[in-house]
Amino acid sequence: MHCMTTEKLGIPSVAVITQVFEDLVRTVAFKGGMPKERFSFVPHPVGGKSAEELREYVLGNDPVTGMPFMDGIIQGLTGALDDEEKRSGSLKRGVPRLLEPGKEEDLHRFYLESGWTDGLPIVLPTEERVARMSKGTSHGADEPVGRMRPTDTQEYWEYTVEKVAANAVMAGAEPEFFPVILALAASGETALHSSTSSFASMVVVNGPVRHEIGMNAGIGALGPFNHANATIGRAYGLLSRNLGGGAVPGKTYLGSQGNPLNYSNVCFPENEEQSVWEPFHVQKGFKPGESAVSIFRGRGFSHLLDVRKKTWREQFVNLVSSITPLRNNLTLLLEPLVARALKEREGFETKRQLARWFHENATIPAEVYWDYQIVINYVEPQAQKGVEPYATWLNLPKDARIPMFPDPEGISVVVVGGGTNAYWFAGDFTYLKSQSIDEWR
């Protein structure tokens, strides 16, 4: 990405990449208009290798081209440009509205082999089915909904109401669910982020729409027990894949292990009726009578049973201690019984007070904090630029305590569950945004 910038400025450039990212960088170069950008490759990984081991990389052969690595560097910087490398102009890439008609069985196979599904059977989006889905909104089929991309280094794709409807049909959704799915599409946030860290997404629905479409906020809300919960979450994954620039492993999806939560994208409504606090969407500026969907991004959950009278403080800290600290990546999914205990017994009058408690009490030594690789990758550069509070933290003594979650306003609390027991989850999910559902009715 940076090398395309410098090439355009007239600076001959070579990017050194590890072997496993060849498909990714060539894809990014193609889409960036520089299909023959010059790369030299070394074995993977570079991270964790000693200087001696990396010297072997440099003195050895490029594992992609087979030529000596250093010769490749010099050739990349000095080799004369061919005609393709000198080209300018524009390449258009159209996507047809309809596929060539085919037999149902053949079309199912074609969708699967094209990478347009999540590997599970889909409902084929015939014109009739898509038209029926489109009746779930007052917006026209050709109306633009938004744009989306797998990550910051990739290109945006755009889409209309009809294209979102096609993906909603594929997921098995009903037309009455469609405004929620359109709101997710309009958010511009992909459910299939291409980070190597294997992000999952989480979708929380608030407001009257929860009851109107029969969502489940009670027993089993996060599990596979409700049509709306399941298919809205699945549709979000499918539309992210097909409308948001693809999710092709190695090219537009790099999650090293992947994340099983992406099948459903953890879609559920908040149990507002059983909550002792204000609904999540109200915290984000919506009125209680409005419907909204909120999107989070993280990787997984740890769990705890109950709020023990003597040692809940220690247990709460232990609950979140496994989370890798990175800005504000904490979301608490509180069972209604837990929320009630925290308010009535321990005096947490608001979600905000509970968030502040975690901010103040979940801390780690500075020496450990600054040695997290993810902190080195993403936080330390900001600290060195002077961004607070990280810049101040960088100068703290090794044994000083640093908050794992730096901004209490960034810690999210959602109430969900059916009251069968006080089991609850803490997830490393970061809140991204909330989107109006009513605007897409």
Binding site: H2, C3, T5, T6, E7, I11, P12, S13, V14, A15, V16, T18, V20, F21, K31, G32, M34, P45, V46, G48, K49, A51, R55, V58, M70, I73, I74, L77, T78, G79, L81, E85, K86, S88, G89, R93, V95, P96, L99, P101, K103, E104, L107, W116, L124, P125, T126, R132, R147, T153, W157, E158, Y159, K163, A166, N242, L243, N377, P381, K385
Partner: protein
């Protein structure tokens, strides 16, 4: 909803969104050799890329003693632009090798 009988051909929508047009950009003209030139070795601060570039710097010094090198760390996170550094490289008629560690 109408179901299709076996063997009947049906028309379905392509579920993909619209990708943007690609604007092709010509690459920088290359010098015939590196003799006397300044090569910037730019680290994006990601997963040990700096150590790799330091080794590359030593190897380049041995292989091409007439080439000058300058090791630099790009400002900000790995995806963040650094116009100041690009401007400096351009001003010095430099070339660039960037390591994106992982």
């Amino acid at each position: 909803m109408r179901s299709t009988s076996k063997g009947e051909k049906i028309a379905v929508l392509d579920p993909r969104g619209s990708p943007p047009s690609i604007s092709l950009a010509p690459m920088a003209i290359r010098p015939e050799s590196l003799v006397g030139r300044l090569v910037y070795l730019v680290d994006v601060r990601f997963m040990n890329g700096d150590t790799l570039l330091r080794e590359l710097q030593k190897a380049l010094a041995r292989k091409c003693p007439d080439v000058r090198t300058e090791f630099r760390q790009k400002r900000g996170g790995y995806g963040e632009d650094d116009p100041g550094l690009w401007s400096e490289i351009r001003k010095n008629r430099g070339l660039m090798v960037m390591a994106i560690g992982h």
